[in-house]
């Protein structure tokens, strides 16, 4: 096989200087802008996590004042949820890959795409201002009545930051929906689409339908603080629990904004590295839509002890179990895809293997919390913290990192160190479990979340957790080094280093600004991994 040559003309070389990036309408460059921005927020959010874990190494509150600790966990949550996890896979990988995956030259609305990045940045600046101005201490959930009436910290700028960044999310979702409907190459019907595209379609529906509700809710909190409206104040006929209903109507589906695109990534990687079509393609495709819809009807399982009636709680508990069905469909179908596949262990696939274990534990412990009786015991303990980190970090970030490693050769045109990337994947998996598994035990034993002091008997598990966080942090820092190194020194990747099917691998790496010189017409079935196709793909 010929040694691949780095293409002289590509989207990275088409225009130089800061202006060519800040005014770009190319979806690939906008994806890179998002990659840089969300990475900065990820490490900022990570710094607050470092503070939390350092404080919890000892039972005494000897590092921070209680108020400072409150601000640390609030800012960790706000930054990680709204400025990293929600935009992560869609804004970076979705932005970059959906057009080439469907044989299009760009998204349907390139200017709106750039606008969404600017809106995200403005939202981020508001939140950064809140940090510099002294921080905010309400928790990322902004629960009333504390956020509306009592907190003297920077609730308004933080909430405004979240409000503004929500529009970025809506615009990205809208762009994807229109693009997937209107811009598919001729012959690329819905059941030939990669499952990554299906997952993003489902995610976009949530972004468009759910985000306005949290935006309105935030405006209500603002109105309450600024003008004393009394919407959430019982003394004036309001109800603080109403805030929780409205907040979780968005924020529970938001979990699926974070996880669904990652599930799409997993489908692509599993199929490529087992050289098989995804088992039960249409079931996996529809399970994404089912998760998106079911995600909207289960929100009050966050509120079982908040004062909702037992009758409503019973219905919400029952409905919450329904989400397990499409989630399990995906996991079983991926497992069936692996069965008798030609498996390999490159770095993207290592992240996927890790994802399987973590997502499974995260999903099953969710059932503990959906069950009324056990939730009374576990609510607001470290069990909940461990559960959602297994989903959001163990699921979403593992998927995101797997995806970044999988498509990095396509995005940049160069390979990274296989050795260090495998080390990083293993460190992340080990570090993650060491950090969060002890938190299940701590929660079960009764350690509440959001306190900076705890009884002495919890110290061993907390030290284990903090030690694991150090390993996890190292696992996250390593890719920054070897991926940056690969920008200049990595081996040239060629068009299709993994021998993957899918339209995005037909174009050069890095792609041309237009993705394809001619609109693809020879559309393959999704995941067409016959030996002939694999052999030919490797020869591209």
């Amino acid at each position: 096989m010929e040694t691949p040559v780095y293409p002289a003309h590509n989207y990275l070389t088409n225009g130089h200087g800061l202006k060519s990036w800040l005014l770009t309408k190319d979806h690939k460059r906008i994806a890179i802008l998002y990659l840089i921005s969300i990475s900065a927020f990820f490490f900022l959010g990570g710094l607050f996590a470092v503070g939390i874990r350092l404080e919890l190494t000892t039972p005494q509150g000897d590092l921070f004042q209680p108020d400072t600790y409150n601000k640390f966990f609030t800012l960790h949550g706000v930054i990680m949820v709204f400025f990293f996890l929600i935009p992560s896979v869609p804004a970076v990988l979705g932005n970059f890959l959906i057009p080439p995956m469907i044989g299009a030259k760009d998204l349907a609305f390139p200017r709106i795409n750039l606008l969404s990045w600017y809106i995200y940045v403005v939202g981020g600046i508001f939140t950064l201002f809140a940090i510099v101005a002294g921080g905010v201490d309400t928790g990322w959930t902004f629960y009333t009545p504390y956020s509306a009436a009592s907190s003297s910290t920077n609730v308004v700028p933080t909430a405004l930051g979240v409000f503004i960044s929500g529009f970025s999310s809506i615009l990205t979702g809208l762009n994807f929906i229109v693009t997937i409907h209107r811009m598919r190459a001729p012959g690329l019907h819905w059941f030939k689409l990669p499952l990554f595209v299906w997952a993003h379609y489902a995610t976009s529906l949530i972004q468009v339908l759910g985000t306005p509700v949290v935006a309105i809710t935030i405006v209500m909190v603002f109105a309450e603080r600024a003008f004393g409206f009394g919407i959430f104040d019982p003394q004036r006929g309001g109800d603080p629990v109403l805030f929780q209903h409205l907040f979780w109507f968005y924020s529970h589906p938001a979990v699926y904004i974070m996880i669904l695109p990652a599930l799409g990534v997993i489908s692509e990687i599993v199929s490529t590295f087992s050289r098989k079509r995804i088992f039960g393609y249409s079931f996996v495709a529809f399970s994404s839509l089912a998760i998106a819809v079911f995600g909207f009807i289960v929100w009050a399982h966050h509120m079982f002890v908040a004062g909702i009636t037992v009758y409503a709680a019973m219905v919400f508990s029952f409905l919450s179990f329904s989400v397990a069905i499409p989630s399990a469909v995906k996991v079983f179908n991926w497992s069936a895809t692996l069965h008798r596949g030609s498996l390999s262990f490159e770095a993207p696939m290592l992240y996927v293997y890790g994802f399987f274990g973590l997502f499974l534990i995260g999903g099953l412990t969710g059932l503990f919390l959906a069950t009324l009786g056990t939730d009374i015991h576990l609510h607001d303990t470290y069990f909940v913290v461990a559960h959602f980190h297994y989903i959001m970090v163990g699921g979403a970030i593992m998927g995101y990192l797997g995806g970044v490693h999988f498509w990095w050769p396509k995005m940049i045109g160069r390979m990274y160190s296989e050795f260090w990337s495998r080390i990083s994947a293993i460190l992340v998996f080990v570090g993650f479990n060491l950090t969060f598994f002890p938190q299940f035990v701590l929660g079960y034993m009764g350690m509440p979340r959001r306190y900076h002091m705890y009884p002495d008997e919890f110290q061993v598990l907390n030290v284990l957790s903090s030690g694991g966080a150090a390993v996890l942090g190292l696992g996250y820092l390593l890719p920054v080094i070897y991926l940056l190194y690969s920008l200049k020194y990595g081996e040239v990747a060629g068009n299709n280093p993994w021998g993957a099917s899918g339209l995005e691998w037909r174009t050069q790496s890095p792609p041309l600004t237009e993705n394809f010189l001619e609109v693809p017409t020879d559309i393959p079935e999704a995941y067409e991994y016959t030996p002939k196709v694999v052999r030919e793909a490797k020869l591209v």
């Binding site: 409907h181 209107r182 339908l209 509700v213 629990v241 109403l242 209903h245 409205l246 109507f249 909207f296 009807i297 929100w299 009050a300 079982f304 002890v305 908040a306 004062g307 909702i308 009636t309 037992v310 009758y311 409503a312 709680a313 219905v315 919400f316 009324l372 009374i376 609510h379």
Partner: protein, 106 residues
């Protein structure tokens, strides 16, 4: 037209003026209804009038009446999700007065 999109419907000015007049009249009725004591029906009447106004805006000002079936489906789906928000939230509020009610966790 089934696919919609390409054909842009141009409504006569009289349609817009009629809808505008209807919205003004309905606003006046809303204000008037607020001065009549209908008991529990006051908010229901106000919301019903608001619903009619929103429908007029969506159908005529937002051109949904002349749009593709996909656009219409999108609007109906959005309303469906709003209905979920209201119905499930009311599932809590409507059952608060039920017999032997004790808030969870107490």
């Amino acid at each position: 037209m089934s696919s919609g999109h390409s054909g842009v419907h141009v409504s006569p000015l009289s349609t817009y003026l009629s809808i505008f007049a209807a919205l003004m009249v309905l606003s006046a009725i809303t204000v008037g209804a607020a001065f009549v004591n209908l008991g529990a029906f006051n908010p229901i009447v106000a919301l019903a009038i608001a619903g009619v106004k929103a429908t007029l805006v969506i159908l005529f000002f937002m051109h949904v009446k002349y749009s593709s079936r996909l656009t219409k489906l999108t609007v109906v789906l959005s309303l469906f999700f709003v209905a979920i928000l209201f119905a499930e939230t009311l599932m809590d509020y409507a059952t608060r007065g039920w017999l032997n009610y004790t808030p969870m966790g107490q």
